[in-house]
Symmetry: C2
Subunit: 437 residues, 2 copies
């Protein structure tokens, strides 16, 4: 399937494609036809997009309306005509929300949220809903890894990552409560970004754990992630952040020890390549209490899952899937002190990370984006451990595709300072440039 990424439109990175759409050198309707054709050819095996009767007609109609609204190429909005896949936990006007569940879609009826409205206002066209694990937790859908259909694409934003990897869309929305954007991005070999906690509004999204839910997105490259960030983030500071050659901090200690030896070897090789191109890499012992950090994050997210789904569970519990039901049960056993400690841990970890960055002159933390490449099998979505602390601290994080382990993609994860999404993306772009062959 990967060989097909050489097909004309799918090979064009997001920012370049958006510019061509605005200029009219890529035709809106031809682009839609190509995307539908790719889905028809590949998605029977990959299963990234949810079925939508009449998809083509709907998207063409929306494209016509968009073109009529913006006849002048010079004033077209930044994402004019960009096709977007949306994880099926976002409410989108005109499309049902199922959240990977068999519960009737009416249960999830709510107004379309800010993230979708901002994308649409920026000119994006929603190509459709993508497969989510149930309630964005662990019970997987049918999506397969485009690089090997016997392996998981990761989760919970399974379909959005795969949709970008297959070239159906250059941008897809996901969410991350533990590692649900950066892990699948790494597993399918695309760029995955999650903003600073709270920087992208989470209204109109089926909640998992409001204290740690983040909106994120999958794109072709860092420039694409930045273009989407400009549309999605509150108070985007558009002035270019020129990054000097970034100083990377490697969070030494038991956190890194959670990764598999092959993934660590690949990570070290990546660091060596970057060092050879002038990137300063500093090893900073930190998070020696990763076991406690993990437990605190799990306490918060588990307890809040219990709250957000309580009334639904009372009515529809027997239609929950097994892992969701087990999580709901576990939520009842989280004690108030565990929960309070978990919530307090977020700010503590953030401050600790910032202090170390100040002390060591670190611009971004570098780590493997997952504990290894995508594991075999579709009944698990893999281990989110490598993403957890950055999600817990609420700092922005990005995964860049960096080669392969055992024939499957792996990602380099970079994490920045709380609120400094612009700076992290600038640093990531500098790193991405130095990773090119």
């Amino acid at each position: 399937m990967t060989a097909e990424a050489t097909s004309p439109l799918a090979a064009i990175p997001l920012a370049e494609r958006a510019a061509a759409l605005r200029a009219g050198t890529i035709d809106l309707h031809a682009q839609i036809e190509e995307a539908l054709d790719r889905i028809a050819r590949f998605d029977g095996r990959v299963r990234a997009f949810l079925p939508e009767p009449g998809r083509g007609e709907r998207v063409h109609t929306e494209a016509e309306a968009l073109a009529a609204l913006h006849p002048d190429p010079r004033t077209r909005p930044p994402l004019y005509g960009v096709l977007v896949g949306v994880k099926d936990i976002f409410a989108v006007d005109g499309l049902p929300t199922r959240a990977g569940s068999a519960i009737p879609p009416e249960e999830w009826a709510m107004p379309q949220g800010s993230a979708i409205s901002r994308l649409r206002a920026a000119g994006a066209l929603i190509l459709g809903k993508t497969v989510s694990t149930e309630f964005a937790y662990f019970d997987p859908g049918a999506t397969a890894n485009p690089h090997n259909p016997l392996h998981t694409p990761g989760g919970s934003s399974s379909g959005s990552g795969a949709a970008v990897a297959c070239g159906y869309v250059p941008l897809a929305l996901g969410t991350q409560t533990v590692g649900s954007v950066l892990r699948p991005a790494a597993f399918v070999g695309v760029t995955g970004y999650k903003g600073t906690y709270g920087r992208v509004a989470t209204d109109g999204i089926v909640p998992y754990s409001p204290a740690v839910d983040h909106v994120g997105w999958f794109t072709t490259d860092v420039e694409g992630a930045r273009l989407a960030a400009a549309a999605l983030c509150a108070n985007w500071r558009g002035e270019a952040v020129v990054s000097r050659v970034p100083v990377l901090g490697v969070p030494d200690g038991p956190y890194l020890g959670q990764a598999q030896p092959a993934a660590l070897a690949s990570f070290e090789a990546t660091l060596a390549r970057l060092a050879a191109r002038g990137v300063v890499v500093r090893r900073v012992p930190i998070m020696d209490d990763i076991v406690a950090i993990n437990a605190r994050h799990r306490a918060v997210s588990t307890a809040e899952f219990g709250d957000t789904h309580a009334s639904r569970f009372m009515r529809w519990g027997s239609m929950f899937r097994a892992a969701s039901a087990a999580l709901f049960d576990a939520a009842q056993r989280v004690t108030p002190p565990q929960r309070a400690e978990g919530l307090a841990g977020r700010a503590e970890l953030r401050e600790r990370l910032h202090a170390a960055m100040d002390r060591e002159g670190v611009d971004a933390w570098a780590s493997p984006a997952a504990t290894g490449p995508a594991p075999l099998g579709l009944t698990s979505t893999g281990d989110p451990a490598m993403s957890l602390p950055w999600t817990h601290a609420g700092v922005p994080a990005i995964s860049l595709p960096v080669g392969a382990v055992g024939g499957l993609p792996v990602g380099l994860q970079l994490a920045g300072r709380f609120g400094a999404d612009e700076a992290l993306l600038a640093a990531a772009q500098a790193i991405e440039a130095r990773l090119r062959p």
Copy 2:
């Protein structure tokens, strides 16, 4: 939860309860109220029944109509007023079918099948639909084991087994394509029966693999299984089959070696108890090709799963769950010779078993009903290996609860001759009597 089985109605075995309902000494409506009350108290944790708005009103109304139809206690049908749980892959007039899937219920619309119509004609009242794994395959629903909610209740007939174990109903319908009735019966400590292949019609049921799909049921005891068999089986021979003390054959060899040591030890202890009470136990080396038998059964059932769900997969594949999608993919790789060999293997195994029974004077084959007690966790439903060959051969089989391993129930599996359901049930009743303390 088990302690609650001492509550008046739930403690009464099926046949005795049916007699009392016919005689009017148990009131139809009081019985319904007790069942609804048990569900309200326990099912939040066990999740055996699917939600049904207005369940109470519907069942009371159906009970009134039943009573009006049969005012004379002397002519009431055999299952008059018996509450039944139905695995949610059976079409039941008035209730949606979901088959454990998020696909819209309209996809499964079909006329109510013979099994349900026969039960209703025999006076049974459908209390509701019970949780099935997706498409009766492997992706589990939320049902927990009533003996320990951290353990699986087994599958695919997860909710039906648990519903009988919780005393909501004295009878529940399931299906078995590999081990989907006898394994969950063993895991939750109830009696589970599947008839001879073809003896109970499978119309009006979401198919998995028509060449090996069986209807089965969960009940309180062997007499209850017999009462249901009389209503469900074609050409039931009602005259009592008086079983002499049955001779049990133990299928020695690698088939038994699939069970865990603790389950085998418990099985041997059961055999010793039975031998002490006059049951002859003969060890008969057989099925030394169990690996090939397993492969042949998997070839048939996998290939047919691909056929039965092909058109649905084309339209809704991305809403399939992971194991179902993987099975559908695997179906495409089964070759026609593998499939033909699998189909032919059924009759060959059946004749081999019959010949050995003739030669050794065996009335029924005895084996552990599962490879061990219910495993920890709700994301797997356990291993169906111990049921597979009897399903493959299409012979009738029953699981009787026989104590516990590690605090969880285990079952003794007995398998008979093709078409001789009456004789197997008689033998099972003789064994059951000798298993009482």
